[in-house]
């Protein structure tokens, strides 16, 4: 079951949130994360950090894009494609979970 979940890509209707097994800190608008399970460190750039902060609560990806488009000057198609790429990478690193 778990394996099957991993293979499904995150789409616009998927609801995602932070992984639970993480600690984070924010420095000058950048977020640094550490996986408690394996001790790996991750750094996220400024826009990624904003996404991370917005995922303090579970959100549908399309809602997440709506919020980002209010803050950043980006077309919807570009925003959705960038966000989906980012979230799928975050999920591969086990930093976010599908709710």
């Amino acid at each position: 079951m778990r394996v099957q979940e991993q293979q499904e890509r995150i789409g616009l209707d998927t609801v995602v949130a932070h992984g639970e097994d993480l600690v984070s800190c924010e420095l000058d608008g950048e977020v640094v994360l550490m996986s408690i399970e394996n001790g790996s460190y991750f750094r996220i750039d400024e826009i990624g950090s904003r996404i991370w902060t917005l995922l303090d609560e579970p959100r549908r990806v399309s809602d997440l894009c709506d919020l980002l488009m209010l803050e950043f000057d980006v077309a919807r198609g570009q925003c959705e494609s960038d966000v989906l790429n980012f979230l799928n990478q975050m999920r591969a690193d086990q930093l976010i979970e599908v709710v």
């Binding site: 600690v23 800190c25 924010e26 420095l27 000058d28 608008g29 950048e30 977020v31 640094v32 550490m34 408690i36 001790g39 460190y41 750094r43 996220i44």
Partner: protein, 309 residues
């Protein structure tokens, strides 16, 4: 000096270092003496196992179990560090006091400080006004040389190699002075125009010497004003660059003292929070200088300008 009641054959020497009161079976002349009103740490001779039976971490040089870290130094000693309160030294035959002291004051105390939940950096530090500035960097980059150069210009040295950073009641970072001694290789002594023959070796066969710097040393913690990360480059000039964001965190993480103990001691989450709090509270400046020449006088002048600003 007093006689230890529990171990009547072991003489006890009372010291202080890293903000801790220490009762030790081995005299530690680099540390300050103490009046012995209280005791935070006991160092005694005894049997240390060859292996920790419940080890959650087993490496060649150290093993760890909850509350315990066993440090193994071939032909010197095994050190069992317990609960941040005790170090048991099991000496190897033929080891000298200097040998035993070197690893005690380094790695064994590094483990003990971590067991006490303290953030320790691989760094030297000096007092600047009422505060402190810290020079982090890898071995051989010139942390002690730089601290000595500041000492020669009248600054008080707070630590040479292991810098404990604590947080005051308001959450602001402070440097806890370690002990007033610098350790310098022969080439550093030459750069600083100091006479090696006037200083004792830290180990009989090692060309590294101890320089006591007790003048004006105080054990009171000082507000941490600035962290410098010492680095070399191929460029001919000295460059100072303020780090931002995650780079500040990663510098503090990289120069945490005995960072390999963190995972073994289940300290990674606490350490992450401490390093994050320090990165948020304190400027971090990368200092790159040419590998050769050292440009020591110029480096000191540039740093003085920077921390005075």
């Amino acid at each position: 000096m007093m006689i230890d009641q529990a171990n009547p054959v072991q003489t006890t020497f009372l010291h202080q270092a890293f903000g801790l009161q220490i009762a030790s079976c081995l005299p530690l002349p680099a540390f300050l003496e103490s009046d012995g009103d209280q005791c935070d740490v006991t160092i005694r001779y005894g049997a240390a196992p060859e292996e920790l039976p419940e080890a959650v971490w087993k490496g060649v040089r150290f093993q760890a179990a909850p509350g315990r870290l066993l440090l193994i130094v071939d032909d010197v000693a095994r050190y069992l560090v317990r609960d941040g309160r005790e170090i048991v030294i099991d000496r190897a035959p033929g080891a000298t006091d200097d040998d035993v002291r070197l690893f005690l004051q380094g790695s064994a105390f590094g483990a003990l400080l971590q067991q006490r939940g303290l953030l320790a950096l691989h760094a030297s530090a000096i007092a600047v006004g009422e505060g402190a500035v810290v020079f982090m960097g890898p071995s051989g980059i010139g942390k002690s040389t730089l601290a000595t150069a500041f000492h020669q210009r009248g600054y008080t040295v707070l630590t040479d190699d292991v810098c404990v950073v604590d947080f005051d009641a308001g959450g602001a970072p402070v440097v806890v002075p370690a002990y007033p001694q610098l350790k310098l290789w022969r080439d550093a002594l030459e750069k600083l125009e100091l006479d090696p023959s006037a200083l004792s070796r830290i180990r009989p066969k090692l060309e590294k010497r101890a320089l006591p710097v007790r003048e004006a040393f105080r054990t009171t913690p000082r507000p941490l004003r600035r962290l410098y990360m010492l680095d070399r480059s191929n460029e001919p000039e000295i460059h100072l660059t303020s780090l931002q964001g995650s780079d500040k965190f990663l510098a503090i993480q990289a120069f945490t003292y005995r960072v390999q103990f963190l995972e073994a001691l289940a300290r990674k989450v606490d350490h992450f929070r401490q390093a994050g709090a320090l990165a948020a509270a304190c400027p971090v400046v990368r200092v790159s200088r040419p590998a050769k020449p050292y440009l020591l006088d110029e480096l000191v002048a540039r740093l003085e300008d920077d921390f005075a600003a």
